[in-house]
């Protein structure tokens, strides 16, 4: 633990609130969350459905902005960033893995992985080279020209992980990454995550499955939009 405190802070949220409207009902998804994530941490965020864990990871992943409170990513005050600045942060500093994979169905595995490089303005040759390398590393070297509907769920999620890693992000977020997979495939994905953390990556994962959550080194429990006891 002593070693961990020496590491620099990757992101920090102070008193984060998020309120949104679902039809005519006002939903207070987050009600004052304080969170600090350091480099090379491996964190699980747990909570029942409606506890605000998805909202939190969306805000941490810069897909959404807090209604109130401050959020810093690498000492930059992201909570006040414009849409375009957020897009650049999502592209350069963050990797996001979704429960539903969220691959583009008309693109091949390679093209899906290369997509963030397109928006990073990288040349085609470089995009292909880099994407191929990372897919090979994740054991998908033989399937790079397959489309998502020609791949199994586990393969799709590995493509999605490759896409999250392609720009060498500062932090990786995973929202229920095993939610759509059987337990064996889920274990394979968790093994990949373990390896990524071993390699020095920072990883934050949302899950409601205690077995999965246990892989992480720190567990944050969320209840009614607030952080509860660990």
């Amino acid at each position: 633990m002593a070693e961990k405190t020496e590491k620099s802070v990757v992101c920090k949220g102070i008193n984060i609130h998020k309120t949104y409207w679902r039809g005519k009902i006002e939903v207070h998804a987050l009600q004052g969350v304080d969170i600090e994530i350091r480099r090379n941490e491996y964190i699980s965020i747990m909570g029942a459905s409606g506890s605000g864990k998805s909202t939190l990871i969306h805000i941490l992943g810069c897909l959404d902005t807090p209604t109130r409170g401050e959020y810093y990513l690498e000492e930059k005050r992201v909570s006040e960033f414009s849409d375009d600045e957020l897009a650049r942060i999502r592209n350069q500093s963050i990797g996001f893995v979704f429960q539903e994979f969220n691959l583009l169905p008309r693109l091949s595995a390679l093209e899906n992985v290369a997509l963030p490089l397109v928006y990073a303005g990288k040349k085609r040759i470089e995009r292909i080279k880099k994407s191929r390398a990372i897919l090979e590393k994740l054991g998908l070297g033989e399937r790079i020209h397959h489309r998502p509907n020609e791949l199994s769920g586990g393969e799709c999620q590995r493509v999605a992980i490759a896409r999250a890693l392609i720009n060498e992000p500062k932090i990786i977020f995973a929202d229920e990454p095993t939610g759509n997979l059987d337990s064996k495939t889920g274990q394979e994905i968790m093994a990949i995550f373990d390896k990524l953390v071993e390699e020095g990556n920072t990883l934050v994962m949302v899950t409601h499955d205690p077995d999965i959550a246990r892989s992480a080194r720190r567990i944050i429990k969320l209840k009614d939009g607030r952080i509860g006891d660990a």
Binding site: D84, R90, Y119
Partner: protein, 415 residues
Amino acid sequence: MHNILESIALALQTFKTHKLRSFLTILGVIIGVSTVIAILSLIEGLNQAVTGQIRSLGSDVIYLTKYSMVRRGPAEIEKIARRRDFTPDDAIAISRLPSVAATAPVIERQWNKLKYHNKESGQISIIGSNQYFSKVSNRTVQSGRDLTESDVAHRRNVGVIGSKVAADLFEEESPIGKELTIRGKRIRIVGVFEEKGAFLGQSMDNFILVPYSFFEKLFPGKTLSIFDRAFSTYSIHIMPRPKKLDSAIDEVRELMRRRRGLTFDKPDDFELNTQEMLLDIYHSITQVGFVAIVAIAAISLIVGGIGIMNIMLVSVAERTREIGIRKAVGASNRNILLQFLFESVVLALIGGIIGIVFGILLAKLISAVSPLKAAVALWMVLLGFGFSAAVGIFFGIYPAHRAAGLNPIEALRYE
């Protein structure tokens, strides 16, 4: 955005995915652009034909007439008919002016048919003039000889015929020395003019030229028709010396006012027409047609544009999730905006290209089956491109803006 070529490739891919839908969408643009190209090229063809025709009348010739070739109100016919006729003496006086090179008095009558043995011509023109007619009307004698001063002076019954009359009446035979009969008077053919071709389906070579002195023997006395008195009397065709058009006009005007006894407070009772004036009036007429075309084009392109906007809105809704994914991995609002804008522009441009090709084919088809000749110019193709690109941008910007403004989380949740 990243790369224009890749954006186009991306847009084309969408087009390929929905072939029929895309085609139906751009049908409006295809119809709009092809109509505009076809009509514009026909107008341009007409322009070239008319301009060429007016130029071929003889460069810089002044036409002295009782009526204006440019303004022609039916209410004025009576006034025009009352004006004093010109005479060959007027032509002789004009020919002595310093800025004038050649002068021909010209009088013309339509004649129903000419016969030679068992062959006959259709309706032809009988023209009375002098030895300068060929010069002021830019014609050359192909075989035989032209009229001479002595033909005019001796009222000789000789004629020079247009090439169509020669072909109709004599076919392979040489017409030189043959005789034709009009109103019981014999005319000996001494020459044939070179062919000038047809203008809007009307042959320019269907006439016979005789000395005006003989013409007066052929058609003695005045006609009573008010129309003939206004339009079928002598006109005088004047060719100025090189670069002397303006001074020739001034000299002729001054001379004619003097000869017609007009005091300084009276307006001219004659008209001096030039080719520039004829071209001007022609262009002002086609300008109206041009404005009408632009209006039609605008309407059809608006209809086409609305079709594109409609399908782009559908496309944005269908691909909400794709937009969410792209934004999640770092696409900016601008990236998304340009992606959809590119799609609508590519869609409209494909319509434009098909429309241009179709329009050109249509124009060629009309040229093939009618006397109108189409002339496709580069500027029309560029106009077609420009119009369709503008439609793509204008009607694509709203759907693209809507796509760009989507919230990534809401877009990702969209089913």
